[in-house]
């Protein structure tokens, strides 16, 4: 809980936050904006490359182009959950509300990008594998990941008070992250027991440098977009906490 003693919003803005008087959100917003502009420029470049620069893959055809959205989303989602795990553990250790704000921002984006992965995957899979869904290890892991972090938000929202919600969510963040390698091992083993689906792996196509370059630009665009959105979301979370503190502070 933030303690607020100054009634003037201008000074309160600069001096709120636990042990962080320099924690003005103006800097956060500037960075978010700058990264957002960079993300927009790279994203336009990535889209141009996806449709006009990268060649059409010979075996899969035009549907392969969805990989330039799918792979960067997956990369971003896993990075987001790494951030959630680190910040959750940090929050349980230090109880700094800023760490919780970063964790919740990253978790929200992680769910968004995992959803993109789970939506773009079947679109490709229907053409390439002939089925919307296949119980392949990576798909299974992504699906379970999505449920773990949806659980993170259900838990956070259901707690009896917000402070509890933060702690519970942090516990879920840590337990989920520790479980991910074990789930990965188990689904790998589980699928190795069955005949493998005929997988046309994207690696096969990576010989063409144009494809690799397009993927790299798309990865950069998604990473920039992620950090821009995360900073915006972080700022929002901090403002929300301050508004809460102002509302309960004595006039």
């Amino acid at each position: 809980m933030e303690t607020m003693t100054t009634p003037s919003p201008a000074t309160a803005y600069a001096h709120s936050g636990v042990g962080s008087s320099t924690d003005s959100l103006a800097g956060t917003r500037r960075w978010a904006m700058a990264l957002g502009v960079l993300a927009a420029v790279t994203m336009i470049a990535a889209l141009y490359m996806v449709f006009f620069y990268a060649p059409t893959e010979s075996t899969m055809g035009v549907v392969q182009r969805i990989f330039y959205m799918h792979v960067p989303s997956a990369w971003t989602a896993f990075m987001a959950f790494g951030i959630v795990a680190l910040c959750s553990a940090g929050y349980l250790w230090l109880r700094d509300p800023r760490l919780d704000a970063i964790a919740v921002s990253a978790a929200e984006l992680g769910v968004v990008f995992t959803t993109i992965v789970l939506l773009t995957g079947p679109l490709w899979g229907k053409i390439a594998w002939g089925a919307w869904w296949v119980w392949e290890p990576r798909l299974t892991l992504t699906l379970l990941l999505w449920f773990i972090y949806v659980g993170y938000f259900i838990l956070r929202g259901a707690a009896e008070n917000p402070e509890r919600g933060k702690r519970f969510a942090a516990i879920m963040g840590v337990v989920g992250a520790v479980d991910i390698p074990l789930i990965h091992l188990s689904v790998q083993w589980w699928r190795s027991q069955h005949p493998k689906p005929v997988v046309l792996r994207p690696e096969g196509a990576q010989a063409d440098p144009a494809i690799v370059q397009t993927l790299m630009v798309a990865l950069l665009a998604f990473t920039l977009l992620f950090f821009s959105l995360m900073l915006f979301r972080y700022g929002l979370e901090r403002l929300r906490t301050r508004a809460q503190a102002l509302r309960v502070a004595p006039r």
Binding site: G151, A158, R167, A170, V174, V175, L182, Q193
Partner: protein, 254 residues
């Protein structure tokens, strides 16, 4: 409903500062960690032995699930080929049902406040609860396996020691997470509804290795064939028993 008999005045005083993470607040002179674990486990087991409410409700539920399987599964499917799956789905559902009750008990009549006021380490409280839940779950499993063997004509006879190892190792990890999330769910508006939602995705490794090992034993493969699954289940147990014990203090804080 405090069970510790040690002097607890200083603990109450420092507990008021609401910093349960402060290890000193839990320091009970003379009470070793193991004694604390046992005190909590004994309390829960005594309650269960007298009321038998969890054993009865979980056991009845499990038998009913077996009957539902009998109705739902096509008679052309040989039960022998899906026995491992059926039995672990049942264990998981019955266990999830029982986990919430363990903490609901503490919330009634503010019993938890008493437990928290006792000078006891949060890790010991967790392990005590885990031990009691484990005992209840193993008792229910001791019913589930014979009932499935009977109803579906499954032959576990030749592999009892290996099967027992699978059951104990799978249950230990399952109950570690179940006890942690049962405690968390007890402090939410959704209550027990939350337990399966949080638990089932996390338990994927337990389900995969336990049902695969059980299935192998069921079709008569030697115990050596389930060694790798036993190792994986053991690794899961070690990771989550340690992690849940360490994280439990953060659940109990006021």
């Amino acid at each position: 409903m405090t069970t510790a008999s040690e002097p607890r005045e200083p603990a109450i005083a420092s507990k008021a500062s609401a910093h349960a993470r402060d290890a000193d607040a839990w320091d009970a002179p003379g009470a070793s960690f193991v004694a604390q674990v046992w005190a909590v486990a004994r309390k829960d087991l005594l309650l269960e032995a007298r009321s038998r409410e969890r054993l009865v409700s979980m056991g009845t539920f499990a038998v009913l699930v077996a009957i539902v399987f009998a109705f739902a599964v096509d008679p052309a499917v040989r039960a022998r080929s899906i026995g491992g799956a059926m039995v672990w789905v049942t264990v998981l559902f019955a266990g999830t049902l029982g986990m919430g009750r363990s903490w609901a008990l503490e919330r009634e009549a503010e019993a938890l406040t008493g437990v928290l006021l006792a000078p006891i380490d949060p890790g010991a409280l967790f392990l005590g609860k885990w031990m009691a839940n484990m005992a209840v779950m193993l008792a229910v499993e001791a019913l589930i396996f014979p009932v499935f063997a009977l109803f579906f004509n499954l032959g576990f006879q030749g592999s009892i020691p290996a099967l027992a190892a699978v059951v104990v190792l799978a249950t230990a990890g399952f109950i570690a997470l179940g006890t942690l999330f049962g405690a968390i769910a007890a402090h939410t508006r959704l209550g027990d509804t939350l337990i399966p939602i949080l638990l089932l995705p996390l338990l994927a490794p337990v389900v995969i290795f336990a049902s695969a090992a059980t299935q192998r034993l069921l079709v008569g493969r030697p115990a050596g064939d389930v060694l790798s699954q036993l190792k994986m289940l053991g690794a899961f147990d070690l990771v989550f028993l340690f992690l849940c014990t360490a994280l439990f203090g953060a659940v109990m804080e006021e």
